[in-house]
Symmetry: C2
Subunit: 201 residues, 2 copies
């Protein structure tokens, strides 16, 4: 017998993920417990999957009847994972690195069902930056916006003007691949179940 | 001698275009005069370019010292231009047409300089919808959101969950290809000139 689930817990403090989920009509609440984000996995996909599961599992015990959603986003360029910059200088260095080139954004997510089932998945999007002028890099790095963002930029903010093109899911770059999430969620709880997790329109 | 320009007039009533321009740091004001949008040009690129110029020229006389920016967006699918739907039923028909397929979004823009120069350009983005369930189409069509949007959807709103992937400029799909605009603007007024049109950070 499958438990009826009517609550989503988002185990992420990212305001962008919460905004995407609520724009898509989902009802949810946010609960976060600290996890050790220093995992030594150099390959991007296993890295984001492992952290997504870790974030979701950290809050599971508090909400035994809810779907728990964890997620993690990284930028991958020239074989290196770029996380959040430590300050404006590291942000500027990351942006110089990304200028005039194509990089990959990986977002992993995990959905834990109260009955013990779980799905995890990862979406990759190519992002191409135009060649950036030095003053643009400096101004954006100093704006404070890069500091809580993987790869030192937010496509939905001031760095939108840096992006020539993206190939793949846009919301994945913002931090949550909502179309894939929706698909996986319906696979887990059914279409009708997915509908019940949304605000009535 | 080139006139110094320190004002942008956005000749568009689209709140999305205004939001994109202001997120990118531009100072501007919005002024719109009615234009006849019924032009019988079936090819998408000449269609959006002609309307962009028409919208910009309609306000030019009121602002002889400003850069005037006009823009127009359409959705193109199976050889047909999809504009704004007349009501929920036409919106639902458009969404059924777009379901499970790839279409093109065209946005044209025109920038008129007070010295008589002008640039116009058009950006095309491929957008792929996943196969939509009938209840999703109905619910979104009835939400009111499609009514002021070409092709009956807003990627930045409730229809984000319909989009599997995009290939090309995201902001072009929202209604304003800001990276290309930035490039063309700097071509017209120089990099330093473009900087002066932005809010000091």
């Amino acid at each position: 017998m499958t438990a009826v689930v009517n609550e989503i817990i988002l185990a992420s403090r990212s305001p962008r993920r919460a905004e995407i989920l609520s724009r898509m009509g989902f009802r949810f609440s946010v609960h976060v417990r600290p996890v050790d984000e220093n995992i030594r996995i150099p390959e991007p996909e296993p890295h984001v999957l492992a952290l997504s599961v870790r974030k979701a599992e950290a809050v599971r015990s508090g909400f035994p009847h809810a779907l728990i959603v964890g997620a993690d986003t990284i930028v991958f360029h020239n074989g290196r994972i770029l996380g959040k910059p430590a300050g404006p200088d590291e942000a500027a260095a990351m942006l110089r690195d990304l200028s005039g080139a194509t990089h990959q954004v990986y977002t992993g997510f995990a959905i834990l069902h109260p009955d013990g089932r779980a799905v995890k998945d990862c979406v990759v999007t190519d992002v191409t930056f135009r060649a950036l002028a030095d003053w643009e890099i400096r101004r954006y790095a100093d704006s404070g916006e890069p500091l809580d963002k993987a790869g030192a930029y937010g496509i939905q903010g001031g760095a939108g003007v840096f992006v020539d093109r993206i190939d793949g899911c846009y919301y994945n770059v913002v931090g949550f691949p909502v179309s894939r999430f929706h698909e996986r969620l319906c696979g887990l709880v059914g279409e009708e179940g997915g509908r019940k997790l949304k605000v009535e329109s």
